[in-house]
Every structure is written in C-alpha cells, then in structure tokens.
C-alpha cells in the first residue's frame, strides 16, 4: 500500500514534496499538532469534545491499524507538515512586505489610495 503525498509549487519554490516517514511518530497518530482546537477557545474554557477518534486496529492483529486508520494517521502527519510549511511561508511573505513598505512607498500608496477606489467602482 502506497502512502499519500503532496506537492507544492510556487514561482519562488518550483517543487516541494511532502512525504510520509512511516517510522516517525508524527505519522502514527490521528491527533495532529496543528489540527487541534485553537488556543483562543481553549483559553475561553472550551472543553474539546470534537477530537478525532483513535485509530482502529485490525480485528485479527491488534498491533496493526486498519487500512483507513493508517491512511488517516498518515494524512494527519502530512497535514501538519503542510500547515507548518505554509505558516512559515506566510512569515516569509510578511517580512518581505515590511522591507518593501519604506516611508516613501507608503506615502505613494496613500496618495494613490483614492484613485484606486474610484477605478474599482467604475469596474462594477
């Protein structure tokens, strides 16, 4: 049985593949690092009753998860990888924007702000 994988590409990153490492505990759980409830609701006193169910084990061999449970665990790990990667990319994008936003640039943007609005209105 092959494991799921994902491929990301963008103008800056031609190709990045996310693959399952069967030995890594990250791909052996249904409880992902990035797919839990948000900190905000936990701090507000939320009790998490929406957890994903634990993996089901094969009835004939309690050591081995069922096909679908194995897939779920591997996807949980890949999802974590993707989420962490995209969060990092967002940070990169944010830092780039800070560099571009020099005072001169900002003043220019402010001057053009009204004009842009009018253009948008006309488009409708």
């Amino acid at each position: 049985m092959s494991s799921p994988y994902a491929v990301y590409s963008s103008p800056q990153i031609p190709q990045k593949t996310f693959e399952v490492d069967p030995q890594n505990p990250r791909y052996q759980t249904t409880n992902g690092k990035t797919t839990g409830p948000s900190d905000y609701v936990l701090n507000a006193g939320q009790i998490d009753r929406d957890k994903p169910s634990d993996p089901k084990m094969d009835p004939s061999n309690s050591e081995v998860p069922t096909y679908l449970s194995k897939l779920r665990m591997e996807l949980t790990g890949v999802q974590d990888d993707i989420n962490e990667f995209l969060t990092k990319q967002m940070e990169v994008a944010k830092n780039k924007r800070v560099k571009v936003d020099t005072p001169k640039q900002k003043a220019k943007e402010l001057n053009e702000f009204g004009e842009e609005e009018i253009e948008e209105d006309e488009a409708y």
């Binding site: 507000a44 929406d50 169910s53």
Partner: protein, 387 residues
C-alpha cells in the same frame, strides 16, 4: 409545465432517496429524505406536496462557552471530526447498509454561510459521491429552509420570513425566483440576539436565542417596555444600532452605573430594570420590526399567508405576534415549524436538493461544487415551480 417525474429513481424503484449534508454555520446536520413517485407531480404547481418522509434528521451543534461566539476554524474542525459518525448514524437510522444502491442523490449546502465550515462539508459530500458513485447537487441554504417549510406546512405560496443567525429576509415567489422584498441592512436578527447573549454571558446551549426567549418569559414588567431604537426603512431594517444601545444598557446594569436614569431611580438609586426586562423589550422591539416589514410585503403581493423559517422562527413569541398581525388581515394564516426543521438541518438540504435533482439539475463537474459565502436567495432559478 413542471414535471417532477422525468428522472427515474435508481434500480427501478418507485421512490427517491436523498442524503442531505448541512454545515454552513455551527450546526452539522445529516438528513435522509424519501419522495414517493406521485402522479400529481407530473404537472401543476405541487412541489410543496411531495409526501416527503424524513427517514433520519440528525444534528450536532458546536457549542462555545458563555460569552464566546463560534470561530470558523474550530467550527470547521467540529464538522470534519463529526461528519463520518453522524453519516453512519443517519444511514443506520434510515435502515440503509448499502449507500451506493440505496441513495439517489447527495445534496450539500453550497452557500451562503461561513467559508471554512461550508468547505468541510463540501469535501465530505464530494468524498461520499466519489466513494459511492452517487450524483451531487449543490443547494442554496435559504432555498433549503423555504422548501422544507413549504413541504412540512403545505403552505402553497406564502410570503416567507426567513430569520436566522446569518440572514433576515422577507421573500415572495415570482416567476421562478424567490425574490427578496426586504432584508437587514447590517446584522441578522439571530446575530443580534446571539451577541446580546454574549454580553449577558448566558449559556450558548441549546442556543443563545432560546435562552433569551426564556429570560424574556420571566419579565415582570411587560407593561413597561424599555424604549429602543426602531429602525425600519421601507421593507428593510437595521439592527446594529439597537444592539449597540442595548449592549450599553446591559453593561451599565452590570457595572451598577447609577448615572443611568433609565436603569436606576434618580433619588433612591434603586434598580428599575432587570436583565429579563431587557430581553423582553429587545425581543418585542425586534419582532415588531419584522412583523411590520412582513405585513408590508404581504400587502405588496396581495398574500394572506406567512411562512416563518430559520432558527429564530421557532421563537414562540415571534409566531404569536405574527399570528396577531395575520388575524387582523382577512383570512390571514401563519405557518411555522418546530426546532427540528426551523433550525439548520440536513433534511431541508435533502428536500430542496431532491427537487433540483428531479428537475435534472445535478453537478456535472466537481468544479461546480466549490462553495460560496455569498449566495443570494434570488440567484437560484426555481425550476420546480410554475411561473
């Protein structure tokens, strides 16, 4: 001419089965609806008399602690982690163990609603469709409410008041569209009530609006309404100002701000108004506005019946007030349903989706299953009704 019998059910059966998946807000609903083939549906305007049977209609609500609303990310997570359990339960309740043979069509909410929860449910719908090889139908959430209300109450051509956490609209049917006669200019009525409930920090279980209704029932000063802004604009209305105002009153009450003469006696400083009074006045004020715009729409289209749908529609006080107004108009009548069908549910999506399916309207490419947060009621071509 409308013929709802042109598409044959699966395996030569004499009935259709639809699975409905709803998750546009904090409720995940799974419903299974059965339509027998009826000769009366081969012509005429009878789409409100399908003899629909609800084989199962299960709902699980994402509830947050008092004072908190529901965030898209956590609501979507709720839907993702509960959907398989609920679908299994619904199938079992309906007595089905071979979905690919038993079900004719899978219907899901395409919009309007919160993006992330809608998206989660669309993924579930696509998965089931591919897994079981069953066609898909994307349903407008508002149309789901209207068609479920019509089927349950048998109201043929009512003015519809659609009141929920995300929508407030007065609707009437004309020439294959449910046309919006009036609507909120800012927040929805359910949102207004929910947010006031958050200010009061009352529980969100079973729903904030229900708890406000219960508090309002306990009001001891029903003859002394607290004056609130009354903001009807033609057939539209506005509620954000009312919310801001009553929020400030509640905060003054909690803080014990004796400067507020509306809440505390000028001389003695004694509290004149309770939380229950505020809830009562808020309900009376908001509902009076709804009744006014509904009556105006009824006068416009010369109709004497009203159908109330949406989560706020199960508020008994709203139904009472609407009945008084309708009674004053000749032969007026109010149609409403209880919480099983008023509050978001899967059966309503199955009902509207099955009507679409029977008119041959199915998803031909998975691209069409992309959900949309903005999807107005009048964008849908209602092929299952006569002009």
């Amino acid at each position: 001419m409308v013929d709802l019998n042109t598409i044959s059910p699966k395996n030569g059966r004499n009935y259709y089965i639809a699975l409905g998946l709803e998750g546009s807000a904090n409720k995940l609903g799974i419903g299974i609806v059965k339509h027998p083939i009826k000769s009366q549906l081969s012509s005429g305007d009878n789409s409100h008399q399908c003899d629909a049977q609800i084989l199962s209609n299960i709902r699980d609500t994402y509830i947050t602690p008092p004072g908190e609303g529901f965030l898209p990310r956590d609501t979507a997570r709720h839907h993702r982690n509960w959907c398989v359990r609920l679908i299994k339960k619904a199938l079992k309740e309906a007595g089905f163990n071979d979905p690919s043979n038993d079900i004719d069509v899978i219907c899901f909410t395409k919009g309007p609603g919160m993006g992330a929860p809608l998206h989660s449910v669309a993924i579930i719908a696509r998965t089931c469709s591919l897994l079981w090889d069953i066609p898909l139908v994307g349903v407008n959430h508002c149309i789901g409410h209207i068609e479920m209300g019509r089927e349950i109450t048998k109201a043929e051509n009512p003015v519809v008041l659609y009141v929920s956490g995300g929508n407030t609209q007065v609707i009437a049917y004309s020439e294959n569209r449910y046309r919006i006669f009036g609507e909120t200019l800012d927040v929805a009525i359910g949102n207004c009530l929910d947010r006031f409930a958050r200010t009061l920090k009352i529980p969100n279980h079973p729903s904030p609006g229900y708890n406000i209704e219960q508090l309002a029932l306990k009001c001891q000063n029903k003859d002394k309404l607290i004056e609130l802004p009354y903001t009807v604009k033609g057939m539209d209305l506005s509620m954000s100002g009312i919310l801001a105002y009553i929020d400030s009153l509640a905060k003054d009450l909690f803080r014990g701000n004796k400067q507020n003469k509306l809440l505390f006696d000028k001389k003695t400083g004694k509290q004149k108004v309770t939380i229950e009074d505020l809830c009562y006045s808020l309900q009376e004020n908001l509902f009076a506005m709804l009744i006014e715009i509904t009556e105006r729409a009824m006068a416009h289209v010369n109709s004497s019946t009203v159908l109330i749908v949406g989560g706020v529609g199960c508020n008994v006080r709203l139904q009472e007030m609407m009945a008084v107004m309708c009674h004053d108009r000749a032969n007026g009548k109010v149609f409403a349903t209880d919480d099983r069908f008023c509050i978001d549910n899967g059966a309503m999506i199955a009902q509207a989706g099955l009507l679409q399916f029977r008119m041959g309207d199915i998803v031909k490419d998975l691209k069409e299953t992309i959900v949309t947060q903005k999807f107005r009621t009048d964008e849908v071509f209602v092929s299952w009704r006569e002009k």
